[in-house]
């Protein structure tokens, strides 16, 4: 039988869906490797785009990487049922990932990064920088990745995306951010690394407020209605995780089959239940499970939606600058 090797986020390929997929296509076996944006790219770079048949980096991680390393394959859009996709998202992703007229990605799930709090203990969390409020000392958390850099920059009144075109300026922003986050370090319990990691911290009460993916917060809301997703006042950061095919993928047909399969409404429902976030299909909100829909409604007002900041494509060089900044924060001891 053919194998479909997925390189994706934790929870983007629940066993249940794999089972259904394999029932439908008995000659395809699905193997999953969990990863995150940075590792997906590093892995594919190391393999020269081999070893996996379908990857799911976020929309901002494709353009520059593809130009430098050529690790993705152009998509054959005729094999994807793009009609079910939310056109705004599809066009957005396409616009971000077209090189020499070839499209390299289509959207899958989208969501936001923002804040989360146990409102019974932290009633008034509003801004990214509230995580550094000394009254929650030892009880807050964040993921030490670029999201928090950007968020903090916004909270400090900067517009980092605008600074992408002027890297010197961007560097000064990063320096300020780093200073702030280093000072904040002592306030944190730990840096979280994955959705369930964060869930454990929140559910056990070891952490009461954190930077989060909205999906994680929605899932927790179902278990503890005191845990709310809170879009920061400067706007939640929006991301779209995509479908891409690695340059040396060996099972393109199966990959297309998977893409089309998971975009079917009943599968979207299952998927959203697992990930907690919305699919980029039309009417996605209706396909959310009951409790999640409630969570979304509780979290977002329309104003919040308008305030969303989509991650901008990362131009060459930025990744390095951010990486160094993150290292600096990690290394700082106070």
């Amino acid at each position: 039988a053919e194998t479909l090797r997925l390189l994706t986020w934790g929870s983007y390929a629940p066993d249940e869906i794999i089972k259904l997929f394999e029932e439908k296509y008995p000659d395809i076996q699905v193997e999953v490797t969990f990863s995150n944006n940075e590792e997906m790219v590093a892995k594919l770079r190391a393999t020269g785009g081999a070893g996996f048949d379908l990857a799911q980096p976020s929309h901002d991680r494709i353009y520059a990487v593809q130009q430098e390393y050529g690790i993705y394959k152009p998509l054959d859009l005729t094999k994807i049922d793009t009609s079910v996709m939310e056109p705004k998202l599809l066009e957005g992703v396409k616009a971000n990932t077209t090189i020499d007229g070839q499209v390299y990605a289509v959207p899958h799930q989208w969501g936001t990064s923002g804040l989360m709090a146990d409102v019974s203990k932290v009633p008034d969390l509003k801004s990214w920088s509230d995580l550094c409020d000394p009254q929650y000392k030892g009880k807050t958390s964040m993921r030490l990745k670029r999201t928090i850099l950007l968020g903090t920059a916004f909270a400090m009144g900067e517009d980092p995306f605008a600074a992408y075109s002027d890297l010197d300026k961007y560097q000064t922003i990063l320096d300020k951010v780093a200073e702030k986050l280093i000072a904040c370090k002592d306030n944190l319990k730990t840096y979280w690394t994955g959705g369930d990691d964060l869930s454990n911290l929140m559910l056990s009460g070891e952490v009461v407020a954190s930077e989060t993916w909205d999906s994680t917060a929605y899932k927790l809301y179902a278990q503890n209605p005191n845990i709310h997703f809170i879009p920061p006042t400067t706007g939640a950061l929006a991301w779209i995780d995509t479908f891409t095919i690695p340059a040396k993928g060996e099972a393109d047909d199966a990959a297309y089959k998977w893409i089309n399969f998971v975009l079917q409404p009943e599968i979207v429902k299952l998927m959203s239940a697992s990930t907690g976030s919305q699919a980029s299909v039309k009417g996605a909100k209706d396909l959310l499970p009951e409790d999640k829909r409630a969570a979304v409604t509780a979290a977002f007002t329309d104003k919040d939606i308008d305030n969303l900041k989509f991650f901008a494509n990362i131009p060459p060089g930025v990744e390095d600058m951010e990486g160094k900044t993150l290292e600096k924060i990690k290394a700082a001891t106070e």
Partner: protein
């Protein structure tokens, strides 16, 4: 009387207490990790919510036991597969090395012997990245120069095997060499003298003598391969062995008691294997 032991009763008691504490320290994290495999909770932490085998055999969300978790099972199979291959290879190479350094004279023997030991003291990370980098260089150049796609040299099972082999061979060589050193060459000469051919001597005298060492070298190599992380992480492709799978699960998804269940399972498995190797070593009247 044992002159090495403290002579005063008080000191002796303190000493024994220290030893007991030490072993408690050794056991503590394993006991803790094993214990929560049976806690009927979705997080591996207190409070204790009752006993369950669900994290082994459960098959309904959210309690999917390890025996129903296909990714963990696949990781396990990959680990077994990689472990067996790499152990067999490193035992074979280790046997050659043992004979080479124990029985043969050749120029620069001492320097080469140091080279043989060196992989043991190179950090695993460095072995991992250096093999990754070198293999990629070869593959890239082959691609560029001949359009050859040497996919075996890209991260994947083959590189994982090479990476683990690179330091396991030192271990197996040392284990086998230690036994060969104790071997009395006159046994081989006696067999020759009694009319056996060289091959027959090898088959009837030398190899049976080395067998326990080969076996324990295999077991050691297997256990080390099974638990290796540092080297493997750099070289792994899509067929991740269990440790990597568990790590991915832990840092990218989060720790659930199913990881405790796997840990418990591994402890029991490796424990039995280690015990078996000791029994095999001991049953021999030969030494």
């Amino acid at each position: 009387m044992n002159v090495a032991a403290p002579q005063s009763a008080l000191l002796r008691t303190v000493y024994v207490l220290y030893v007991v504490c030490f072993f408690a320290y050794l056991a503590a994290p394993l006991v803790a990790a094993g214990m929560f495999a049976f806690n009927d909770s979705t997080v591996p932490s207190l409070p204790w919510r009752g006993f369950t085998l669900g994290w082994f055999f459960g098959d309904t969300d959210p309690v999917i036991g390890m025996f129903h978790d296909r990714r963990l099972l696949r990781g396990l199979t990959n680990s077994l597969y990689i472990g067996v291959i790499v152990s067999a290879l490193s035992v074979a190479a280790g046997t050659c090395n043992a004979f080479l350094f124990e029985r043969r004279q050749f120029p620069f023997k001492n320097a080469l012997y140091i080279l043989m030991i060196i992989p043991l003291v190179i950090p695993g990370v460095i072995l991992g990245i250096s093999i990754l980098v070198f293999a990629s260089m070869v593959a890239n150049n082959a691609d560029r120069a001949f359009g050859l796609d040497l996919s075996a040299l890209r991260p994947g099972t083959f590189l994982v095997v090479l990476g683990q082999f690179s330091f396991l061979t030192t271990i197996t060589s040392l284990v086998i060499q230690a036994r060969l050193k104790k071997f009395d060459v006159s046994l081989e000469e006696a067999a020759l003298n009694l009319g056996a051919s060289r091959l027959k001597v090898l088959a009837t005298v030398t190899m049976p003598y080395l067998m326990p060492a080969l076996f324990s070298a295999f077991v050691v190599a297997f256990l080390v391969s099974f638990e290796n992380f540092n080297t493997t992480l750099m070289l792994v492709g899509s067929d991740a062995p269990l440790t990597i799978t568990m790590y991915d699960r832990m840092v990218k998804v989060g720790s659930t008691p199913v990881l405790n269940a796997v840990s418990f399972f591994l402890m029991v498995g490796s424990g039995l294997l280690a015990l078996l190797s000791v029994v095999v070593q001991r049953d021999r009247p030969s030494d």
